[in-house]
């Protein structure tokens, strides 16, 4: 006779409520696992899905993703002339928040040379890449756009010609690909009122400096901010080229830094992602410990509730294994059912979660094994208490 099953059947509502409670906690553990892996995957997605051998950035900067990097547009031509380089292409990246697809959304704009082969969208699931110099865009499916949609960014409308899947920046925001001039225009475009105000302020400064109004008006265009800035130059090495030699040349002669994609990935993992990953890792460790403690307390309380029955079992001659089995089975039932609940719930949550969730089977299995071991360990305290209970507890009123 399986006493644990009989008890669970008798108190089904209580067990279901317990499993739902512990299961929700374990769901958070699994989701944290998913966020942890998703955070890493998002963090390096753009690096791993941008066709380039090296990233050339402003000297002394860990850019273009960990910090801002600004280099003159024309610099890519100097880079292209470096020995050992087959191609070089300008690249800009910046965050934006605009009304897109009927909602105010945050996304990242990538500007690249649409007629080159470097920097374009890596994972187009519908449509095509940008083939015109202006007013075409490739957007990620997360933005809710469809092929042919027109999106106003600044003063112009851009037509969606391609849709990517899971193309995100290191923060998990969807990507929008534009031609380099379009991306620059949107980045530096100012509101008319802001332009008028800036012009008036500059005019006043020039007049205060002693220029006549006529002279100041002529000088005004020279004070306008330059839009010919990019964040990085992507380059393709010539066959057989030595990356280290190329890097040294760029560093010594062009005064820029150059990172391979592997180095850029490492910069991301060790820089921007490290603290976030550490925090997530700490949280999920704490949640696992809290879950095990809660299971231990639940099993302990369930055992205490049955202590008179356990004493009666001892008195009527039940061997210890009957009592151990009763407690252990219930502990395992709670652990297994809660984990199954969590697994199912996390599967339901995944497509609706605002961040990328990645559930690695080996990590889910490891979490399951830790919880299983925790469930067994959790029952030990209750078993110890039950085995120490004297049978005379059953006697008396």
């Amino acid at each position: 006779m399986d006493l644990a099953v009989k008890d669970i059947r008798r108190h089904l509502g209580k067990f279901i409520a317990t499993i739902a409670g512990v299961g929700l906690l374990l769901t958070i553990v699994l989701v944290m696992n998913g966020i942890y892996q998703g955070n890493i995957a998002d963090g390096v997605w753009l690096i791993e899905n941008t066709a380039t051998d090296m990233w050339v950035v402003e000297r002394g900067r860990g850019g273009p993703f960990n910090e801002s990097s600004r280099i003159p547009l024309d610099a890519y031509k100097s880079v292209a002339a470096t020995p050992g380089i087959a191609r070089a292409s300008p690249f800009i990246v910046y965050a934006a928040q605009r009304d897109v697809g009927g909602a105010n959304q945050q996304f990242t704009i990538i500007g690249y040379d649409v007629f080159g082969v470097l920097g374009g969208p890596g994972r187009i699931v519908r449509g095509r890449a940008i083939s015109a110099a202006h007013y075409e865009m490739v957007a990620d499916a997360k933005l809710g756009l469809e092929l042919g949609d027109q999106v106003r960014l600044g003063q112009h409308e851009y037509r969606v010609v391609g849709v990517t899947g899971e193309a995100v920046d290191p923060s998990g925001n969807p990507l929008v690909y534009l031609s380099l001039p379009d991306a620059q225009e949107i980045q530096y475009q100012q509101d008319t009122q802001a332009l008028v105000a800036a012009r008036a302020a500059n005019l006043k400064r020039l007049e205060r400096a002693g220029y006549t109004s006529e002279q100041a008006s002529k000088l005004l265009p020279l004070l306008a901010g330059s839009t010919d800035t990019i964040n990085a130059v992507l380059l393709r090495l010539a066959p057989g080229a030595d990356a280290e030699a190329v890097r040294k040349h760029i560093r010594d002669w062009l005064y820029f830094d150059a990172y391979t994609s592997a180095e850029e990935r490492e910069l991301m993992l060790e820089g921007r992602l490290r603290r976030m990953s550490a925090v997530l890792g700490l949280f999920r460790s704490l949640l696992v410990v809290v879950s095990i403690v809660i299971i231990a307390l639940i099993v302990y309380v369930l055992t205490i509730e049955k202590i008179r029955s356990i004493a009666t079992l001892k008195l009527i001659g039940a061997p210890n294994w009957v009592i151990v089995r009763l407690i252990m089975e219930q502990s395992l039932a709670i652990t297994l059912a809660s984990f199954a609940f969590a697994w199912f719930a996390s599967g339901l949550i995944e497509p609706r979660f605002p961040r990328t969730l990645i559930f690695l089977p080996q990590e889910t299995l490891a979490t399951f094994l830790v919880m299983l071991a925790g469930g067994v360990a959790a029952s030990l305290m209750a078993i110890w208490h039950a085995l120490r209970t004297p049978p005379q507890v059953a006697l008396g009123g």
């Binding site: 006493l3 008195l315 009527i316 001659g317 039940a318 061997p319 059953a394």
Partner: protein
Amino acid sequence: MAIVEVSGLNKTFGSGELAVHALRDISFSANAGELVALIGPSGSGKSTLLLCMSLILVPSSGRIVMNGHTVYDAGATDLDVRRFRRENIGFIFQAHNLIPFLNARENISLVLHLNGAGKREAARRAQELLEYLEIGHRADSMPANLSGGEQQRVAIGRALANQPPLIFADEPTAALDTDRGIRVMGLLRKIARERNSAVITVTHDHRMIEGFDSVYHMMDGRFVDRTEATH
């Protein structure tokens, strides 16, 4: 034939000036089919005697023989206590102590399972016992849905399940009203006669001892009086 023989039994808790002599030179026996009552006020030692005979407390000295086995003789034995209890002693408790998540039939068949009976065999014999105790129609009821008297009958069924030669009843009528208490006592008497078990009952309720073969009166750990058959 004596099912239980206790001779010169002593039990002392603590030592020195703080020593409490719970049992002092207790000797008595109970035969098969005999209904014995241990009666006395609280602290008289009747529960301690029951615990010693139940192999829960180890006596300080003396000898206990049960069903031909010397279970205690001024020293520990290598007896498998739980197995001995399972095979030789049935317990009836004041608060019935039914397992709350098992129905009436399962509460009885559990004991049969523990003694190796198969599922069907245990269920069949449990049902027979419930019929014998006139509550066969409540076999599927959970303890919480049974009256106090019905619960005590199930508890009696559980005590009888393995046909033990010895049954210990600890205040079996304390939780029942007078009518139900008298009926339970009548049932114990019937069991002693029909099943040839020695039934030893601890009680402090003088109203319930009518019909007992022997009544031992306890006070301060001693037998102070013994009354023979009152029927």
